[in-house]
C-alpha cells in the first residue's frame, strides 16, 4: 500500500493549485462542521443552544451536559445516564472482536496454506455472508436466541457479531497469508512441525499488521452496530448506540440538546480514538478487503 507516498508525474500551475486548495479546504469544512459544531454545543448551557447561534463559541463553558449524559440522563424509563450502556458495549465488543479475529486468523491460515478440494467454494460462501442484508436473518435469529435463552443477553449479541464478522476477518487474514511464502511452511513440515506449531511459530509472529486491521475493523463495526442491538438486546445488554438513540428520540420533557450532543460524543469517542491512534492501518485494512479483493 503506497498510500503514504505522494509521488505523481502530474504538474500543476499556480491558479490550478489555488483552486485545488480552495476545494480541498471547503470539503474539510464540510466534513468537520456537523460533528465539530455538535462538539462545541455540547459544552454550552441549553439556553445558549435554543436561543443562540450554533456556530458561536459558548459564552459560558460547562461540562454539566457531559456529566449528565454520562450518569444521570433519562434513558428509556430509567435515569441512569449512558454509562451502563457504555459498559454493555464494551462487554459485547471485546469478546466478539477477540473470537472473530482468532477464528478469522485460523480460517485464513487453512484456506491459504492447507488447501483442499472446495476450499474456494467455502471461502466464497463465507465472503457472501458479509454482504447479505441482515433483515434476511432477523426473524430466525430472534427465534433461535429465544429458544436457547440467549435473547436479550450479551453472549447472544457476541454470538451474532462473531457470526456476521467471520467473513470479513477470514478475508483479511486470507489475503495477508496468501503472499506469505509457502516454502517456509513446507520446510517446517519436513522438520516435523505440526499444524498449530507452524501457525504459532511462523505465521503468528509476522501477523501483527493484519491483526491490527482485523481488530480495528471489527471493533468499529460492532461498536457502531444498531440493528442487532435494537433487535436482540434488552436493558441489561443494550449497547451504546441503542441507548443514544433512545436518549435522542425520547419525546417527553424538554429536549436537552447539549446532553444529546455529549451523549453522541461519548458514543463516538472509542471509535474516533481508535481511528486517531491507528487510522493509517484502518485505511490499509479497508483497502486490503476491497481493492485487492
Amino acid at each position: 500500500m503506497a498510500i503514504a507516498s505522494s509521488d505523481t508525474a502530474i504538474r500543476t500551475g499556480r491558479v490550478t493549485r489555488f483552486f485545488l486548495y480552495l476545494v480541498l479546504i471547503l470539503f474539510a469544512l464540510f466534513y468537520l462542521l456537523p460533528f465539530g459544531v455538535m462538539l462545541v454545543n455540547s459544552v454550552k448551557p441549553l439556553a445558549e443552544i435554543t436561543g443562540g447561534n450554533m456556530l458561536s463559541l459558548p459564552d459560558v463553558w460547562t461540562l454539566e451536559p457531559w456529566f449528565k449524559a454520562w450518569s444521570s440522563a433519562q434513558i428509556g424509563v430509567e435515569a441512569t445516564g449512558l454509562s451502563p450502556y457504555f459498559w454493555n458495549s464494551i462487554k459485547m465488543v471485546v469478546p466478539a472482536v477477540a473470537i472473530s479475529t482468532i477464528l478469522g486468523a485460523l480460517n485464513g491460515y487453512v484456506l491459504t496454506k492447507w488447501r483442499f478440494k472446495y476450499d474456494t467454494l467455502i471461502f466464497g460462501m463465507m465472503l457472501f455472508a458479509c454482504f447479505i442484508p441482515f433483515q434476511i436473518v432477523l426473524i430466525p435469529m430472534a427465534r433461535i436466541l429465544g429458544l436457547t435463552g440467549l435473547a436479550g443477553s450479551t453472549p447472544g449479541l457476541v454470538l451474532v457479531h462473531v457470526v456476521f464478522g467471520l467473513g470479513f476477518t477470514t478475508l483479511y487474514f486470507k489475503n495477508y497469508y496468501q503472499v506469505f511464502p509457502t516454502e517456509l511452511i513446507r520446510a517446517a513440515q519436513i522438520d516435523g512441525a505440526g499444524f498449530f506449531r507452524i501457525f504459532q511459530r511462523i505465521l503468528l509472529p509476522s501477523s501483527g499488521p493484519i491483526i491490527v486491521v482485523s481488530v480495528i475493523w471489527q471493533f468499529t463495526n460492532i461498536w457502531n452496530d444498531f440493528l442487532f442491538g435494537a433487535s436482540f438486546a434488552d436493558l441489561d445488554s443494550q449497547p451504546m448506540t441503542v441507548a443514544l438513540n433512545n436518549l435522542v428520540q425520547s419525546s417527553h420533557g424538554v429536549k436537552e440538546y447539549n446532553v444529546h450532543f455529549a451523549g453522541a460524543v461519548f458514543a463516538a469517542l472509542p471509535t474516533l480514538l481508535v481511528y486517531i491512534v491507528a487510522g493509517r492501518y484502518f485505511v490499509r485494512g479497508l483497502m486490503a478487503g476491497s481493492v485487492k479483493g
Binding site: 503506497a2 498510500i3 507516498s5 505522494s6 509521488d7 505523481t8 508525474a9 502530474i10 485545488l20 486548495y21 480541498l24 474539510a28 466534513y31 462542521l33 456537523p34 460533528f35 459544531v37 450554533m54 480460517n107 487453512v110 474456494t120 467455502i122 471461502f123 466464497g124 460462501m125 465472503l127 457472501f128 454482504f131 447479505i132 442484508p133 441482515f134 433483515q135 432477523l138 426473524i139 435469529m141 462473531v162 456476521f164 467471520l166 467473513g167 505440526g194 468499529t220 461498536w223 452496530d225 444498531f226 433487535s231 448506540t241 443514544l244 440538546y257 444529546h260 450532543f261 453522541a264 458514543a267 463516538a268 474516533l272 481508535v274 481511528y275 487510522g279 476491497s290 481493492v291 479483493g293
Partner: protein, 298 residues
C-alpha cells in the same frame, strides 16, 4: 515431536484432518446462521406467519400483497432515489478529492483523516448531528437568520418531498471520504513512467486523467460501487436516527419497512417476503462480483 515420526501414517492422516477440523466451527456457524436462516426466511415468506412464525403454506400470496402495498412502493422508490444519488455523489466527490489530494498537496496528512473520520462514526451519531444541524428551528436556517440572512430557507428535513435528500446528504457525508481513500490508493498504485511518457507526447493533465488514469482505476470503481450499494441497501440505522422514516412515510426504505412489518405490525409473512426481495437484489449485484474476484485468484 520425534516420537510421532515412528508412526508417520497416523501422523499424516491426522495432519490432513486438523485443517478441516479447524475450519469446521466457522463453516458450521455460517451454514446454520446464514444459509440455514436464509432458507428459513424464504420459507416463512410463503407462509401465513403473523406475530409468530407459522407454517400454513400460502404460496406467493405475501409477495402479491407486498407488491400491491403503497407503503412498499414508497420504500422501494426511496431506495432507488437514495442509492442512486448516494453512489453517484460518493463516487464523484471521492474521485475528485482523491485526484486533488494526489497533486503533492501540502498538509495532505492533515486533510486525509479529516475526510475519513466520519466513517468511524456510528450512523446513529451521524444522524443525531445532522438531524439537529438541518432542523430549521435551531440549526443552519436559524443561524443564517441570526446572521441577518432573513430569507434563507432550508427545511428539507421537514418536507415530505425533500426529506429523502437529507438522508442522502448525511450518508454522503459519512462515506465519501472512504471512497476517496479507495481511489487515492488506486491512484498511488498507477505507474508514473507511463504518465511521463504520455506527457512527453504532449498530453494535457486533463486528457491524462480522462484517457489513462481513470481507466486504470477500474478496480477501485468496481469496489466502491459494490461497497456503496451494499451500504445503501442496509441503510437502516441512518434513516432511524435522522428521520425515523418520516415525515409521514417520506423516507421509509425497505430496511425500515421490513422491520416495522415484522416486529410492530405483526405481518411476519410480508416482512419475510420483503427481506427476500432485498436479498435477491443484493445477490444480483454481489454474486457476479464475488465470482469474478474468486476466479482471478486462481
Amino acid at each position: 515431536m520425534a516420537s510421532h515420526a515412528t508412526n508417520p501414517d497416523f501422523r499424516t492422516r491426522l495432519q490432513n484432518w486438523i485443517p478441516k477440523l479447524v475450519l469446521s466451527p466457522s463453516l458450521a456457524l455460517i451454514l446454520f446462521f446464514v444459509y440455514g436462516f436464509i432458507f428459513f426466511t424464504v420459507y416463512l415468506s410463503f407462509t401465513d406467519s403473523r406475530i409468530l412464525p407459522s407454517f400454513g403454506w400460502v404460496g406467493f400470496e405475501n409477495y402479491e400483497k407486498l407488491f400491491r402495498l403503497r407503503h412498499w412502493d414508497i420504500a422501494v422508490s426511496n431506495l432507488v432515489v437514495f442509492s442512486g444519488l448516494y453512489i453517484f455523489f460518493c463516487t464523484v466527490i471521492g474521485l475528485m478529492l482523491a485526484i486533488f489530494l494526489d497533486q503533492k498537496i501540502r498538509g495532505e496528512s492533515v486533510l486525509r483523516p479529516i475526510y475519513l473520520y466520519p466513517m468511524a462514526l456510528s450512523f446513529i451519531v451521524t444522524g443525531t448531528a445532522w438531524k439537529w444541524f438541518l432542523d430549521p428551528g435551531i440549526g443552519l436556517e436559524h443561524t443564517m437568520h441570526l446572521w441577518g440572512w432573513e430569507s434563507f430557507e432550508f427545511n428539507w428535513i421537514k418536507d415530505r418531498n425533500f426529506a429523502i435528500y437529507t438522508v442522502v446528504l448525511a450518508a454522503v457525508w459519512q462515506s465519501s471520504g472512504f471512497v476517496m481513500a479507495m481511489f487515492l490508493a488506486g491512484l498511488r498504485g498507477i505507474d508514473n513512467e507511463m504518465l511521463k511518457a504520455a506527457q512527453m507526447d504532449g498530453a494535457s493533465n486533463f486528457s491524462l486523467y480522462r484517457r489513462i488514469i481513470i481507466l486504470q482505476l477500474r478496480p477501485a470503481f468496481l469496489s466502491a460501487f459494490v461497497i456503496l450499494s451494499h451500504l445503501a441497501i442496509k441503510s437502516y440505522d441512518l434513516v432511524v436516527a435522522l428521520t425515523g422514516g418520516g415525515p409521514g412515510r417520506a423516507t421509509e426504505v425497505p430496511a425500515t419497512f421490513m422491520y416495522s412489518y415484522t416486529f410492530t405490525r405483526n405481518q411476519m409473512g410480508i416482512g419475510a417476503s420483503s427481506a427476500v426481495t432485498m436479498l435477491l437484489t443484493i445477490v444480483a449485484i454481489m454474486v457476479p462480483y464475488l465470482y469474478s474476484e474468486l476466479r482471478e485468484k486462481k
